[in-house]
């Protein structure tokens, strides 16, 4: 029999329905892969016994003819989602052996649809990072690495690497400034950050609440459509969740893109930009044109300020969200002679350097005397960036850009470690989308001369993920990207 772990979610569902293999066989095949391929370091907690139980229940439903939409599909879950009775750490020492007594809404939706959970996936600590190097469980190795070990991107690095190395059929990720799209691009996967409010944030450990969104990372566009349908939907437990129906995304994939207007933002053509990525960008526009789309130059004039605004707003929200880690009610505690000393000992030992840096920046920009100059200013710039997109969408249906200006870089790269800003600059094409709350998908477009994947990003109007899927599917069909 051919390797069933290489199947996409859609192919695996079809095989399960035709009884070509059972959910138990599929789950055990992934468990074998995980146990054999430990170098990737994608799984930080394994829940194999629970997975086998879930698979056996899925098999019973297949036998009785009452299967669910994702019945028996083995998934990996980013360690930022609270999973009932399965250790959840956000890859931070401060959470210790935290076992959530409840299930996040997104993972609960997946379980209700019959998914099997193989375990929890590595990530940057509290989702703060772009290379998965800030995890307290150590870095993830990109399965595309050649002679040197490369980063998988971040923060959902384990999620992308696990899908790419066939350690799970698909995974969940979260995206605050590019944390689904960048690792998907670096690992040759497809991932979508839906519109803010599309997926419930209940039970997802908060980083920057006005920017965080959950979404899937998978092998292809169809799998993202299938998974997002299951993950999304209104939830009374999240006051920012939208009460609007979730379309059947998969039904849009093969629809004609004739007449669709694709915007190319001129401000994204950076000075001295890598020629390979420019060539792939042009190629992607040509493919969409060949399907009948019109390609048009658009302007997003405040693009230049997006990163600076993001690196005020995200740390500000993070400093407030992370105040809850005080060693009192959960997680690790380091005692002290006073309550303040207990807080300081707990937090100084529990948080890693990048998280501390962001908490301090966030605390500073929110502190008396600086609030207006930094925080309020950044919120005003956020309005300008949001309005840029709304104006652009008066003349186009989707926006096409590269996902990242670079491909995966080596673990421990000097330049990235020397100055945190060098790492932040990798988010140049992704953060604006979070500031504006828009949906955006990244899919692989081709390889660099060194054989590393590049990602292309398609940005859509609010709650118009279906148009993104249409364009992405056409692009995928004509790109013929070969996965590993």
């Amino acid at each position: 029999m051919k390797d069933i772990t290489k199947l996409t979610v859609a192919q695996a569902l079809s095989g399960l329905k035709k009884k070509e293999f059972s959910a138990t066989e599929l789950t055990e095949a992934y468990i074998d892969n995980i146990e054999q391929n430990t170098k990737v370091n994608a799984f930080v907690t394994k829940s194999f016994e629970i997975a086998k139980q879930q698979a056996s229940e899925a098999d019973k439903r297949y036998a009785s003819g009452n299967s669910l939409p994702l019945d028996g599909i083995p998934l990996g879950i980013k360690d930022l989602f609270c999973t009932k009775n399965i250790r959840t750490t956000a890859c931070s020492k401060i959470l210790g052996e935290f076992i959530p007594p409840y299930e996040s809404t997104v993972t609960n939706n997946l379980l209700q649809d019959g998914a099997v959970f193989l375990g929890k996936l590595n990530m940057d600590e509290f989702a703060m990072g772009g290379s998965n190097e800030t995890s307290c469980f150590g870095p993830v190795v990109n399965p595309w690495s050649k002679d040197k070990d490369l980063v998988p991107g971040g923060s959902s690095g384990g999620s992308a690497a696990a899908v790419s190395a066939h350690l799970c059929a698909a995974s969940t990720g979260t995206d605050t400034g590019g944390s689904i799209r960048e690792p998907a691009a670096f690992c040759g996967c497809t991932g979508i950050k839906p519109t803010y409010g599309r997926c419930s944030r209940y039970g997802i450990i908060a980083f920057a609440s006005s920017l965080d969104q959950a979404g899937p990372i998978a092998q292809d566009v169809r799998d993202c459509a299938v998974l997002l349908k299951s993950m999304a939907g209104f939830d009374a437990k999240d006051s920012t969740s939208y009460d609007t129906p979730v379309p059947d995304y998969e039904s849009f994939l093969e629809q004609d893109i004739n007449g669709m207007v694709v915007g190319i933002p001129k401000e994204y053509r950076l000075d001295g930009m890598n020629k390979e990525i420019v060539a792939y960008w042009d190629k992607a526009a040509e493919i969409l044109k060949s399907g009948g789309a019109k390609v048009k130059e658009i302007s997003l004039p405040h693009t230049k300020y997006a990163l600076a605004a993001y690196y005020v707003l995200a740390p500000a929200e993070a400093s407030s969200n992370l105040a809850r880690y005080d060693g009192i009610r959960f997680g690790n505690r380091k005692n002290g002679n006073s309550l303040d000393e207990l807080y300081i000992n707990t937090r100084t030992e529990g948080f890693g350097n990048e998280v501390k840096r962001r908490i301090m920046i966030g605390t500073y920009v929110l502190s008396a005397g600086y609030y207006d100059a930094y925080y309020l200013k950044a919120q005003k710039v956020r309005r300008l960036i949001h309005d840029d997109f709304m104006n652009a969408f008066k003349e186009c249906d989707v926006i096409l850009t590269p996902t990242s200006p670079i491909t995966a870089f080596p673990i421990g790269d000097e330049k990235m470690l020397q100055n945190p800003i060098n790492m932040y600059l990798n988010d140049v094409f992704t953060v604006s989308v979070n500031l504006a709350g828009l949906p955006a998908l990244s899919l692989p477009i081709g390889l660099s001369a060194e054989g590393l994947p590049y990602g292309m990003q398609i940005i859509g109007k609010p709650f118009d993920e279906q148009t993104i899927f249409k364009a992405a599917y056409k692009l995928e069909q004509d790109t013929g990207f070969e996965r590993i």
Partner: protein, 95 residues
């Protein structure tokens, strides 16, 4: 706006984090690099711009004022680093 060692110490305390004395200088430099970069926002005139706090344009929903969860003391205390008599225990606060 550049910050000094004193401000680094103050921000660290507000964050309930400790920065060791020998690391204050490098923390200050790093802080200032980031702040200098963020300062480019001041190139923009935002005088008549309304701040954007959330992209969510819905008005907050109301619901019936009724109990939706509760009676789960054991679950709440299950992750406590230290508990006594069904309470979270902390060091003595009142002298």
């Amino acid at each position: 706006m550049a910050i000094d060692n004193q401000t680094v110490k103050k921000v660290a305390f507000l964050s309930r984090l400790r920065v060791e004395d020998e690391k204050i200088e490098s923390a200050k430099d790093e802080f200032n690099k980031i702040l200098q970069w963020i300062d480019e926002l001041n190139e923009l005139n935002t005088d008549n711009v309304e701040p954007l706090i959330s992209v969510n344009e819905q008005t907050l929903r109301l619901r019936e004022d009724e109990i939706t969860a509760g009676n789960n003391k054991d679950e709440i205390l299950q992750n406590a680093p230290m508990e006594e008599f069904d309470y979270f225990a902390v060091p003595k606060v009142v002298e």
